[in-house]
């Protein structure tokens, strides 16, 4: 099997000679051309090579992650002996939380599942580069500066709100900027920003939670370390998503709009709004007590409003970035309608939530509805395989087409075997 590459996006399908009319052939050729454009512009299926010695971003990434690792080891080593039970409990909780949230983010990322090595790079940047490489020293220095300039009580009220959002959001966004430089052909859509930002935030949150857990274990003079680590852990894990993953998702999606990519023309206003939303929600969340005291409004009320508004904005951003992905998916799948693999109605269901709902609502009964859901899921798999194959009919693509037919309960039309792009 020849390996399809994105460097040479030649058409995957040859016009079928003799079997179609001239206009149908032209129409199909146009659909295939649009498919190739969509694959090329989206970067879907593009592999990620981490080690790029000629890429300056790779070196900065490695330097800061290694620095962060060194700082973390330096910070924890003196405590590791006595607080070993707390370290074990904290690490176990961190792993469970990471796997849970990581799986959920991966599930939400439907159209283009990010390659594992990109996700891992994001997580490591968030956990080591951003947290221990930049944020811990910067937060401390900025907090100390505020205390010297404005007094201890003022600093205690506002230090977190006026340091963490700026230090931590820029530190996390720095990792996304590096990934934009390391995976230019892969990281292109606002949805890439949203999901990779969420994974950077998850890394930051996981290591920050671990840091807090060890800090908490030193409470009560170190006499109840495991109890203090596990106390309230459920609340902390559940609240994690309305924290760093969300802030970074908004900031990184905003950066894609702000910078512009081949898949997403620059929209500076929208980008600035999303970046400001991520930083602003972080600021409010870290200043809830001070805001409550200064305004006379209940801190709990401010907290609840913050959570509700931020989740609403996150959902809006998800829908916003989802739109571009849907356009690309439809372009990739459109030739499958001409080939009889999918129906126009099925591809149209990828246009938006409304269209998907309408397609599912048209089911005669529950069984039919479930079948339609399966067809859409199989079509998504086909879309992924087509992107991976650069539009060619590879074994995976053929199998995915067969799977669409299987879940629909009928035979499938396979296009004529074609030469894969060289």
């Amino acid at each position: 099997m020849s390996t399809p590459t994105h460097a040479d996006p030649s058409p995957a399908y040859e016009p079928e000679d003799g079997s179609t009319t001239g206009s149908t052939t032209d129409s199909r050729t146009e659909l295939v051309r649009r498919r190739q454009d969509a694959i090329e512009v989206s970067g879907w299926g593009e592999p990620f090579r981490f080690w790029q010695p000629r890429n300056a971003c790779t070196w900065v990434f490695v330097a800061l992650v290694v620095t962060g690792l060194f700082n973390m080891v330096h910070m924890f080593t003196p405590l590791a002996g006595y607080y070993a039970p707390a370290f074990t409990a904290g690490a176990a909780i961190a792993v469970i939380s990471t796997l849970g949230w990581g799986w959920w983010f991966h599930h939400l990322d439907r159209f283009e599942r990010q390659p594992f090595n990109v996700v891992l790079a994001c997580f490591l940047w968030g956990g080591l580069g951003a947290t221990f490489g930049i944020a811990t020293s910067a937060n401390g220095a900025l907090g100390s500066l505020y205390a010297k300039l404005f007094g201890a009580a003022w600093s205690a009220d506002w230090q977190a709100g006026l340091s963490a959002p700026f230090v931590e959001e820029s530190a996390k966004a720095a990792g996304f900027i590096l990934l934009l430089g390391m995976a230019r052909r892969l990281v292109r859509t606002p949805a890439d920003g949203l999901f990779l930002g969420a994974f950077i935030g998850l890394g930051f949150q996981t290591f920050e939670d671990f840091l807090y857990a060890i800090g908490g274990a030193t409470g009560s003079f170190g006499s109840d370390q495991v109890g203090l680590v596990t106390n309230g852990i459920g609340t902390r894990i559940l609240s994690d998503v309305v924290s760093h993953p969300m802030f970074s998702a908004l900031v990184c999606a905003g950066l894609v709009y702000l910078i512009g990519t081949p898949a997403q023309p620059r929209r500076a206003g929208r980008g600035l709004l999303l970046v400001a939303a991520g930083v602003g929600f972080h600021l409010v969340l870290d200043s809830v007590l001070a805001l409550g005291a200064d305004t006379g409004i209940s801190s709990l009320f401010i907290f609840i409003v913050e959570i509700a508004v931020s989740l609403g904005v996150l959902w809006y951003a998800f829908r916003l970035t989802d739109g571009r992905e849907r356009e690309l998916a439809r372009d990739i799948l459109a030739p499958e309608v001409a080939d009889g693999v999918l129906t126009a109605e099925e591809v149209e269901a990828f246009a938006g939530h409304k269209q998907r709902r309408a397609y599912l609502k048209a089911s005669a009964d529950r069984r039919e509805r479930r079948r339609r859901k399966h067809v859409l899921a199989a079509a998504l798999d086909l879309c992924t395989d087509l992107a991976d194959a650069n539009g060619a009919s590879t074994a995976d693509v053929v199998a995915s087409r067969a799977d669409v037919a299987r879940v629909r309960g009928g035979a499938v039309a396979q296009p004529e075997p074609t030469t894969t792009p060289a």
């Binding site: 099997m1 971003c57 006595y82 500066l145 010297k148 201890a152 003079f221 006499s223 005291a293």
Partner: protein, 222 residues
């Protein structure tokens, strides 16, 4: 039909290589700007801000009569003229509460007062403090130098105290437990300096006692 794993062709390997006209000093030209942006972020937060913080003098001396909260209902009176490193005056409590730590220094000796929940006696608390200090290396070469003594504060709270030495330092640590709240007072400095400050340290320890939260309320109202 199974996939066949194939090695990348020479052409594919060439395509992975950065074209010569897109290089600068051997690096891919387009990767330099994002790398520099991130180095700029790192420089701002890890170099510039800490340097700025170090350049700003810390000047917050204790004024005679000032008390510092060490919990929501306990406070200490540090020696006048000593610099406040950490902690809140009972007249200026932040929205998040009084906090659980206060620290003061005269430049050579540092006194740190820490409170937290503790379910035990003052003697047990002092044992726990010794155990953690030894295990974590918080004081290098930590060695308790003599037996424990009983300390009673002006408010009638009774605790225990001991002296210790470490590499280049000596100090005093005292422990109290008041209604489920453990209190640790740790004073340390260079050997001769710590002895010279003994009177001030004892003064602070004896000052541990309740504080009137209406002080803070009145301050807020005004």
């Amino acid at each position: 039909m199974a996939h066949e794993a194939t090695a990348p062709t020479a052409g594919e390997r060439r395509r992975r290589r950065v074209p010569v006209e897109e290089r600068l000093a051997g690096l891919e030209r387009r990767s330099i700007v994002p790398a520099l942006v991130v180095v700029g972020i790192w420089f701002l937060w890890v170099v510039a801000v800490p340097h700025l913080d170090a350049a700003v003098d810390h000047d917050d001396p204790v004024v005679a009569g000032e008390r510092f909260a060490i919990s929501d209902d306990l406070a200490v009176t540090p020696p006048p003229g000593w610099d406040v490193i950490d902690g809140f005056r009972t007249t200026d409590i932040p929205a998040g509460g009084a906090g659980a730590r206060a620290a003061f220094t005269n430049g050579t000796v540092t006194i740190i007062v820490t409170t937290d929940t503790y379910d035990g006696t003052a003697s047990e608390l002092l044992e726990q403090i010794d155990k953690v200090t030894s295990a974590t290396g918080a004081v290098d070469g930590f060695t308790v130098t003599d037996g424990r003594s009983t300390v009673t504060t002006d408010s009638g709270l009774t605790g225990v105290a001991e002296t210790f030495t470490g590499r280049g330092v000596e100090g005093t640590v005292a422990a109290f437990v008041s209604d489920g709240t453990g209190i640790e007072v740790s004073a340390s400095g260079q050997p001769d300096q710590e002895t010279a400050a003994a009177r001030h340290i004892a003064h602070l320890i004896h000052s541990i006692g309740p504080w009137d939260t209406s002080d803070a309320d009145q301050q807020e109202a005004s």
